[in-house]
Subunit: 106 residues, 2 copies
DNA sequence: TGCTTATTTGGCAATATAACCAAATAGGCG
DNA sequence: CGCCTATTTGGTTATATTGCCAAATAAGCA
């Protein structure tokens, strides 16, 4: 694999990696309906606010979400709603692979 | 976030995480046209064969690829071609976020 | 300005991932 | 069987990710 291909795939991997975490997937879901501030998102996710803030920063860095400051609050919203399309495929994969998925959990 | 939601999102994250690596993305691309054996895939990726074998095992464990034994060779093929649909969205995200992507590389 | 609330950043410890090498396994064939 | 080829597995080390706490920053308001 040459350097150019490597760079291309690394960029793609970065975006997918940003999605590949339970809390971040949840954040994307939460933002699919409406923009929300960090405090609200933190309550929903149930982790430390600093943790949620870092998850949001990562999603923002790769371009999946964007933010808007309003007073002391920061509202995040989905910038790339096309990522929601991933879910139907992911669910299909999970459905077709139930037995293996169960092994992975054990 | 309750336990059920956590489990649901963890399963989804597992599938996305399996995709979120340059070599594995490349493997998926290589298999999008035709099934190939481990040796061929290894040559294309340019890593140690044991490394490639492990990447393939991971893709298989989550249900993205499947394999078929023929003599001493193992041929892998795409089991969930719908993952190819991810790429157009990922490219869109990358295009819309060029400046940030460049920062990430630096 | 000083205080309060909201969020981000820095730092650390725990865990997970990745790559290689070496060794094990599996199938075909003399 | 013994050997060869293809692939997987085990083990180790290096690197990356995660989550929390504490501290820093930012904005509004008395």
């Amino acid at each position: 694999m040459d350097a150019e291909n490597q760079a291309r795939l690394q960029a793609r991997a970065r975006v997918l990696k940003a999605m590949a975490h339970p809390s971040r997937l949840y954040l994307v879901e939460l933002l699919s309906n409406q923009e929300q501030c960090v405090a609200e998102l933190t309550k929903a996710v149930g982790a430390d606010i600093s943790t949620v803030s870092k998850h949001l920063s990562l999603l923002k860095a790769v371009g999946i979400v964007e933010d808007r400051k309003q007073g002391t609050q920061v509202f995040y919203r989905l910038k790339a709603p096309c990522v929601l399309n991933f879910f139907s495929c992911v669910e299909e994969v999970l459905k077709n692979n139930l037995q293996e998925q169960i092994k992975l959990v054990k």
